[in-house]
């Protein structure tokens, strides 16, 4: 290598693992609730009485006290220059309102350098939490590429977990509290060998990325309009979602 090192471009990613919606009984059930949802939610805002809490416990029987881990998977030509490429969040309990969101707001801040867009970094999330016996089990894996274009991106990643091979095994794993897990969470960022597994969908995690690139255009990679403004993605900005 040259003494000065090869010319690289930089990719700065910051943002946060915002929240999760991890419910086995999906929102559909909530919407099918006999009471008028509007009334329901209004009641919930004003009087978080025990009755409703009970009801919520019924709707979302599991998935509380979750924490998540993230790590980045990137190609050979990539190297992190600053920040943490791995992290583990605090444990969060679900909110008491109707959304039952699990909010981490766990910051991500990492800078990569690379000579090649091949192997663009992917963030791999894995969510863990106790099951009904208190065993720490995995609640979801998910991965997404860091957005290519600079700017603010909100991503909602569907999560999934590997399924047991057989019913019996499912029962025993449930009973023993050792659910099937990937040997390495990074498996979800690659396609190789996935055909041997079967998975089940398991809620969503919302991620917010703020992406800044440097010298990409100089090196001949065009990742979108020169000045991307505004939020891309379907979701409305934070705080106004309701």
């Amino acid at each position: 290598m040259a003494a000065a090192g090869p010319s690289v471009f930089l990719l700065m990613v910051n943002g946060q693992v915002e929240s999760a919606q991890m419910g086995k009984l999906a929102q559909k059930q909530w919407q099918n609730w006999n009471l008028k949802p509007g009334l329901m939610s209004e009641l919930c805002w004003t009087c978080p009485s025990r009755l409703f809490l009970k009801y919520y416990e019924y709707i979302f029987p599991e998935y509380d006290d979750l924490y998540c881990k993230y790590c980045f998977v990137y190609g050979q030509d990539w190297a992190p220059t600053a920040g943490l490429e791995e992290g583990i969040s605090q444990i969060t309990s679900k909110s008491q309102d109707a959304r039952r969101a699990l909010v981490w707001n766990f910051p991500i801040d990492v800078t990569f350098k690379s000579t090649n867009p091949y192997g663009w970094p992917q963030i791999v999330l894995s969510v863990y939490g106790p099951d009904m016996f208190g065993n720490d089990v995995v609640r979801g894996y998910g991965a997404v590429h860091v957005p290519f274009s600079p700017g603010r991106h909100k991503k909602t990643i569907p999560m999934f977990v590997p399924e047991s091979v057989s019913k019996l095994q499912k029962f025993t794993s449930w009973f023993m509290g050792r659910r099937p897990e990937y040997t390495d969470p990074k498996v979800v960022a690659q396609g190789e060998g996935r055909e041997v597994t079967r998975v089940r969908s398991q809620g969503f995690v919302t991620l917010l990325f703020n992406v800044v690139t440097k010298d990409m255009r100089k090196l001949g990679y065009d990742t979108g309009p020169p000045d991307t403004q505004g939020v891309s993605g379907p979701s409305t900005p934070q705080g106004l979602s309701r």
């Binding site: 290598m1 040259a2 929102q27 909530w30 909602t156 569907p158 050792r178 897990e181 041997v196 309701r242």
Partner: protein, 1551 residues
């Protein structure tokens, strides 16, 4: 205390404070104390107090700065900011405050002077003192009480409550201060405060309010001046004071009791303190905002009066209703977090927007976030991506195919013949056909057209003959006339033919009609409604006749003219021929004459002239006769033309006839009609041989017509290649039959729907149908005649009327595929049959040929129908379009190539990327391939290119012996290919590779776990627990350590006394057979004697070297030393790469050398002996144990006793046993020969051996060994390869398995009973050994070393046996133990050995993969000798290299002695030569003291030899006069197997 009392007290106190005379100094002191106490109290108070306390220091600092009189100033200044008068003149606060202070000061000074004077007059009494205390208290609490005034405004009372409490405690303390203060007072106070603060119930607000108000009132009065203070008030206050005192006393008593009780428990356990500290710590970390109301002055900038915009007439919306507590919390939090007051508005409240809540309820949109999620899961409709038919991909056509549509209109179907046709139908069809023909002809009117043309031509000739009218030259005129004439002739012939055809057609129609009529009469029913009417058109007879005659005349004249011309021509010809003939005749005659003369001379030679050469005499042509011509013309005219005057017959076919109803028909006819009714038809539309749609099934009509009238719109994406209609017929309910296929032409691009003409396409079927009714059938002969003559065979046939056109899009644009070369060429050419006939079908694609044809055939370039062809040709000839003359397999590849191949190869970056993705070892882990070529150094490729170059070059530098060089190369290639395959195999994943899941527990596991429940928690015999394994990824240099625990050794060779120059050695009585017979050797007498002398026989120590790091133990003494030491060696992975694959490929060995430390006294001057010791240490190598790192890596730990590899000859040492040993451990020792060392080796931390988990398919070691060559070449994660014995011998490389197989085969061929043993051995790990059966016992052979052990040999390296493999079966060990010591090798016992082939699965008689026999070549002895010399040279050079600081002398005499000795060693397999040898050496080199030994190794390459010599450390002698001797001997065995002996020795001359 009741609030009321408290209030009263406060008032009094305040009053007293101001009015009372007080001793200045004393007051000061007490104030100080009180303040300190107050501080303490505050700090220990509950968190509620904290805010107020913290906000004070700002105020408290002020007095200290201001003046010497802390008390007074403190009071005033504290009041300063708070004592804002509630007057509206807020803007001048500063001034007001100042004046206020001034006033206060004056007042106080006055009071002080008054007090002083009073002091002078009176003796101090307890009363004022007791009164003073409350005043102190008041001072203390006042700064707390003050906010209460402001609070009133904001309707918050909490603060004042707090302060009232403070006051209460203070008063208690004050009262208490009358009795002597106990020493433990402060802590008790704190405790008290703490508890009271926490548990005191808060006073009711309602009670508090008036009190605060009244207090406020008094305070205000007090502040505002004496003049406002009414005297009555004073009196009241005094009365209150007295009341208070009474109340205070009672309180005091009560509290005093309480206090006393508390004093007893004042000695608190430490727990309390810890809680306290914890609270303190929590206080540091956590901030719990107070719910107390924040006074307005804190929220506003200093000295700013709050202003209320609402009062000023500004509109403010309704504020959001927030509970007061929350508001307070927020305010406190804001004040805490940010000292700045930017969160507060002018009115001292938190800035807030007006209430955004709508006055009326509305339903919020439900859970937007969830909806988003839903939206993401929703299926999106996307238009299908067009797929373009491969074969239709046009090279170079870049335009994307659009949306095209073909409209196929199927009107109907008419059968021209059908099996159900009756005879009448046949005739009717014929008639209809003829009539159609007739109609078509009449429409074209060819005859008339030709007649007109003829007329025109005649006129033209007439005109041309008139020269006056033609401006052209005579010549051209003549020429044109001639042309015209010839054309007239042509046209006339054509016209005649046409006219004749017309006439015949007419005749035929009439004839068929007549037949039909007769048929109808004959069969007495009518089947068809056909009716022919012949209409006669009257003609003007006279005009007709004239025209007829004129025509004839004209024709005659023309013919005559023609004939005349012909005649003239012929005459001309005749004349020339005549002349020719005459000339010939003349010549003939002359010849004859000559001949005659010649004949006279030589009559026999005369010959007949050649008859062939004689031209025929021309016959003069006959002039044409006009009459004859006229005759001919008239005849022809009569035949082909309507006679003049004869009416013109116009046939008209109508369907006006009546069909006989069924009941009047005979049975056969009825059957036929019913059959027809049962039939129905449908059409399938196929496009490019794919069915795209089909019509409805329609019944066949009685007139054999089917009407469909359906239009099919075909959206097409592929190029239309074929469009077919398939006609299917269904008879009743029996199946359908394909009648015929109708091929429709693809329409021209100009044909769009709406304008397309209806076309009739004929079809016919070759089916054979015979019917049992009136129907004539198909493909079968039938006849109209009664006698069956004149047979006809008709096939089913018909016409489909349809129209095919391109659709028109919505915006009026026809949906036609763009004109492209191939398409046009194809279709235009199809149209022009002559093009095909002229250049052949193959020429259609050959543009050059096509262009040539077009040029030759003088195509009209302006004809619109030729336009596409002309365009094509112009394109083709101008060279704009390039049609390659090659065939490309993947024609799209080029489009996807983003750079050309040359550029790809030229670019260093691309090359690097490519090589990396191929997994080329040099680049597999290359990180950060630079962006630009210029940043890539050329040398990056150097290694790789060198390797590529060297691939085929056999290097003889390392491998001296060519055969071995070739083998090494071959091995290298095998390894590469195995690695490549392995890389591919690595991409096949199993579920267990990806997902970790517990196995379903089976019964035994469940049972075990249940059993475990009953297990003791702390067993008496602790068991070793497994260490935590570390995945070797996050490791770096120095993290991994190799721990070698040397425990002890047995039977180390002992020194021989060097003093005796010659000693007759006692010949060892050991023989090979005795080895296993466990016979102890007799000790030699000399040694016993030596031992008796008490000399140290040997001082061994162990040196462990690994990766050139050397550690050694301390020196022990005696031949059975015990060290019990742990050595720690660092481990460095190659290139710092700690991945599992890299670790697996570590080839380093751990050498454990046993050395003898010899001390020599080198003190030369005996006089110094008393004062100093000068010794030199020499180390003599005794033997070594070599353990490859890979074994340690895979085994995790190595524990056991190993045989030390001791050279057969150790100069200066002997392996004699001492008496004691023999006596003591005889039983154990005698089991085996040699020296042993007990070791424990492990890695710290323990590494997870990567791929070896998947043992069933991958054994991560590949060891290549040449026979008797334990050279480990292990490399990463590769399957184990077993080669056959011949391959093994050819390669001269293989691991234990190959060795074992070969050895086993040898044994078997020798007639021994032998088995292959699969098991675990130390240090090899999983390995293969050979088991042989002797008469009474079993022997276990290590195939790599060639050693053999008895079954009960303790030191047998084979530790466990898994299975035995015999020549015809495999046995698995199912015994309780797997150690050979405790096993039974009798394979016939099924309880001990489970055989693979049993009765259930008998041995199928497999043939062996091994060759029948092995072929051995003789090894070249000369080459061996040469190799021997070279190795010796290399080794000598190496030794000199290793001694860079010393002179290395070679003792040549010794070397030659050694060299002679080596073959002897080889002959005796290194045994039983020691004593002889030593004796000889001693004889020859008596002057020297030497140490040395021969090394025996199998030969693979030079490097291991060098390593072996290095590891002995012979070169490490730094004695000044040391000399060396080194001899090499190579003994060649067949098949190029070489045994290498190296004798190294160091010699020191005795003084």
């Amino acid at each position: 205390m009741k609030p009321k009392e408290e209030k009263v007290k406060i008032i009094t106190e305040e009053f007293i404070e101001d009015s009372e005379d007080a001793d200045e100094g004393r007051q000061k002191k007490t104030v100080k104390v009180a303040r300190q106490k107050g501080k303490k109290q505050l700090s220990s108070a509950g968190p509620k107090e904290m805010v107020s306390e913290k906000s004070h220091p700002d105020d408290q600092q002020e007095p200290v700065q201001e003046g010497s009189d802390t008390h007074l100033l403190g009071m005033t200044s504290r009041r300063g900011p708070r004592s804002l008068p509630p007057i509206p003149s807020a803007s001048r606060t500063g001034f007001a405050e100042f004046s206020m202070r001034e006033r206060m000061r004056e007042k106080l000074q006055a009071a002080r002077s008054k007090a002083e004077s009073a002091l002078l007059q009176e003796i101090p009494t307890p009363r004022p003192r007791s009164l003073r205390h409350p005043s102190e208290k008041e001072l203390e609490t006042e700064f707390g009480t003050e906010p209460g005034r402001e609070v009133q405004r904001t309707q918050q009372e909490d603060d004042s409550q707090g302060f009232s409490r403070v006051k209460f405690h203070d008063s208690v303390r004050k009262i208490k201060s009358k009795p002597p203060v106990p020493p433990g007072f402060p802590s008790a106070e704190e405790a008290y405060n703490f508890f009271t603060f926490n548990f005191d119930p808060e006073p009711e607000e309602s009670e508090e309010k008036p009190k605060a108000k009244s207090r406020h009132g008094t305070n205000q009065e007090e502040e505002e001046g004496e003049e406002e203070e009414p005297p009555v008030q004073e009196g009241v206050n005094k009365m209150d004071e007295e009341e208070l005192l009474d109340g205070g006393d009672t309180e005091h008593l009560l509290l005093g009791l309480d206090h006393a009780a508390e004093d007893f428990v004042a000695v608190r356990p430490a727990e309390y303190e810890s809680v306290h500290i914890r609270l303190q710590m929590e206080k540091e970390l956590l901030f719990v905002p107070s719910t107390l109301t924040v006074p307005t002055y804190k929220k506003l900038p200093e000295n700013v009066q709050p202003r209320y915009p609402e009062d000023e007439g500004l509109y403010i919306g309704a504020r959001l209703e927030v509970p007061r507590t929350n508001q307070n919390i927020m305010e406190n939090r804001l004040l805490m977090q940010e000292p700045g007051r930017r969160w507060f508005g002018d009115d001292g409240r938190i800035l807030a927007l007006p209430n955004p809540i709508k006055p009326f309820p509305s339903r919020p949109p439900m859970l937007t976030q969830e909806q988003d999620i839903k939206a993401e899961l929703e299926t999106l409709y996307k238009k299908a991506v067009k797929y373009i038919h491969r074969s239709q991909h046009l090279i170079g056509s870049g335009d994307p195919p659009g949306n095209f549509q073909l409209d196929i209109d199927i009107l109907g179907l008419i059968f021209t013949h059908h099996p159900c046709f009756s005879r009448e139908h046949v005739l009717a069809a014929k008639l209809a056909q003829l009539y159609d023909q007739y109609l078509a002809r009449r429409q074209r009117h060819k005859a008339q057209f030709l007649t007109d043309k003829l007329q025109a031509l005649r006129n033209a000739v007439q005109m041309g003959l008139n020269p006056a009218k033609t401006p052209k030259s005579l010549e051209t005129t003549q020429k044109t006339i001639n042309e015209y004439k010839s054309e007239i002739r042509q046209t006339r012939k054509l016209r005649d033919a046409e006219q004749e055809k017309d006439r015949t057609l007419l005749k035929t129609i009439i004839k068929v009609w007549k037949e039909m009529k007769s048929l109808r009469e004959f069969q007495r029913f009518t089947n068809t409604p056909l009716k022919l009417v012949l209409r006669k058109e009257k003609v003007d007879q006279k005009a007709d006749e004239e025209a007829y005659e004129a025509e004839i005349q004209a024709e005659i004249s023309e013919l005559l003219e023609e004939h005349m011309e012909e005649y003239e021509q012929k005459i001309e010809e005749y004349r020339s021929a005549q002349q020719q003939w005459k000339a010939w005749k003349k010549a003939q005659r002359a010849k004859k004459k000559k001949n005659k003369q010649a004949v006279e001379e030589r009559p026999d030679e005369m010959k007949e002239p050649d008859p062939g050469e004689e031209p025929v005499k021309p016959v003069p042509p006959e002039p044409t006769d006009r009459a004859v011509i006229e005759q001919q013309v008239r005849e022809r005219a009569a035949q082909s033309r309507r006679r003049p005057g004869e009416p013109m017959l116009v046939p008209e076919l109508s369907l006006a006839g009546n069909v006989t109803p069924n009941d009047q028909c005979p049975r056969v006819e009825v059957l036929r009609r019913e059959d027809v009714k049962r039939r129905s038809l449908y059409l399938k539309v196929t496009f490019n041989n794919k069915e795209v749609s089909r019509t409805d099934s329609r019944p066949l009509g009685a007139d054999f017509r089917v009407h469909f009238g359906q239009i099919f719109n075909l959206k097409i994406f592929n190029w239309p290649e074929s469009l077919t209609l398939q006609v299917y017929e269904t008879v009743g309910h029996s199946g359908t039959t394909l009648l015929a296929e109708v091929f429709l032409p693809i329409p021209e691009t100009t044909v769009v729907s709406g304008r397309a003409p209806t076309e009739e396409v004929e079809f016919s079927s070759n089916q054979h149908v015979t019917l049992d009714h009136e129907g004539v059938g198909s493909g079968v002969p039938f006849s109209f005649e009664a006698d069956g003559s004149n047979q006809l065979i008709l096939m089913t046939s018909g016409k489909v009327s349809n129209s095919v056109a391109w659709a028109i899009g919505e915006n009026g644009i026809p949906l036609i595929p763009p004109l492209s070369q191939q398409n046009i060429g194809f279709r235009s050419a199809l149209k022009r049959a002559d093009a095909i006939s002229s250049i052949g079908t193959s020429g259609l694609t050959d543009m050059k040929k096509l262009a040539k044809w077009a040029a030759e055939s003088k195509l009209d370039p302006n004809d619109p129908s030729n336009a596409p062809l002309m365009q094509l040709i112009s394109v083709a000839t101008s060279g704009e379009s390039y049609i390659p003359d090659f065939f490309r397999l993947e024609q799209l590849q080029q489009e996807f190539n983003f750079v050309s191949d040359e550029e790809l190869n030229r670019s260093k970056r691309f090359r690097l990327l490519g090589l990396r993705s191929q997994g080329v070892p040099e680049f597999r882990n290359y990180k950060q391939i630079p962006m630009y070529d210029r940043e890539i150094m050329e040398k990056v490729f150097q290694d790789y290119e060198k390797r590529l170059r060297d691939r085929n070059v056999i290097e003889t530098k390392d491998h001296i012996d060519t055969h071995r060089a070739i083998v090494a190369k071959y091995l290298q290639q095998v390894r590469e290919s195995v690695i490549n395959r392995f890389l591919i195999a690595k991409h096949h994943f199993l579920l267990s590779d990806l997902v970790v899941e517990e196995e379903v527990p089976n019964i035994s596991i469940l049972g075990l776990s249940l059993f475990k429940l009953a297990e003791q928690k702390r067993p008496l015999r602790p068991r070793r627990k497994g260490r935590k394994k570390v995945t070797a990824q996050n490791l770096s240099d120095g993290d991994i350590k190799l721990l070698v625990n040397i425990i002890r050794a047995y039977d180390i060779p002992v020194r021989k006394p060097t003093t005796s120059k010659f000693q007759q050695p006692s010949r060892s009585s050991r023989t090979f057979s005795e080895k296993h017979a466990a016979s102890p050797t007799t000790p030699s007498a000399t040694h016993s004697a030596d031992y008796a002398l008490g000399q140290v026989l040997v001082r061994p120590f162990v040196e462990v070297s690994f990766q050139r790091t050397i550690c050694h133990t301390t020196t022990a003494e005696g031949p059975n030393p015990s060290w019990n030491e742990e050595l720690e060696l660092p481990f460095r992975a190659p290139n710092g790469d700690y991945s599992t694959t890299s670790l697996q490929s570590v080839k380093d060995d751990v050498f454990i050398n046993i050395l003898d430390e010899v001390l020599y006294d080198v003190l030369e001057d005996d006089r110094e002996r008393g004062s100093g010791i000068h010794t030199r240490i020499e180390r003599h190598w005794l033997g070594c144990v070599k353990i490859p790192f890979s074994t340690i890596y895979f085994q995790a730990r190595i524990d056991g006793t190993f045989k030390i590899n001791i050279p057969p000859v150790l100069l200066g040492y002997s392996k004699e046993r001492s008496v004691i040993i023999e006596r003591g451990f005889d039983a154990v020792r005698s089991l085996s020969e040699g020296s042993y060392i007990t070791l424990f080796i492990t890695l710290e931390p323990q590494l997870v051996p990567g791929e070896s988990v998947r043992e069933k398919e991958l054994v991560a070691r590949y060891v290549s060994l040449i026979p008797f060559l334990p050279d480990t070449v292990s490399f990463a994660g590769i399957c184990d390869l077993w080669s056959t014995s011949d391959q093994f011998l050819d390669l001269l490389a293989g691991d234990e398995e190959e060795h074992a197989v070969l050895l086993c085969n040898y044994f078997l061929s020798l007639g021994k009973k032998a088995w292959l043993v699969m098991g675990n051995a130390i240090p090899e790990g999983p390995t293969a050994y050979v088991l042989t059966r002797e008469q009474s016992h079993y022997l276990i052979w290590n195939p790599c070393s060639g050693h053999c052990y008895g079954q009960f040999d303790t030191f047998c390296p084979l530790k466990s046996v898994g299975c035995l493999i015999g020549p015809d079966n495999i046995w698995f060990n199912i015994q309780q133990y797997d150690s050979p010591l405790r096993m039974n090798f009798d394979v016939t016992k099924p309880k001990l050995w489970k055989s693979f082939f049993s009765r259930r699965l008998p041995y199928p008689g497999l043939s062996s993969v091994q060759p029948e026999e092995l072929i051995y070549q003789r090894t070249d002895k000369v080459a061996a000798a040469e190799l021997q010399d070279r190795i010796e040279k290399i080794l000598k050079e190496k030794i000199m290299d290793w001694r860079p600081r010393h002179l290395t002398r070679w003792n040549r005499y010794c070397t030659s002695t050694l060299r002679h000795f080596l073959p002897l060693l080889e002959r005796n397999h290194g045994e039983d030569v020691e004593d002889n040898h030593r004796a000889e050496l001693l004889k020859q080199l008596g002057d020297y003291r030497f140490s040395g030994f021969p090394l025996h190794m199998p030969y693979s390459e030079v490097k291991p030899l060098i390593e072996a010599v290095y590891s002995t450390g012979v070169h490490n002698t730094d004695a000044p006069n040391v000399e060396f001797a080194l001899a090499v001997y190579i003994h060649p065995y067949p098949k190029n197997v070489l045994s290498v002996w190296i004798y190294v020795a160091s010699l020191i001359r005795n003084r």
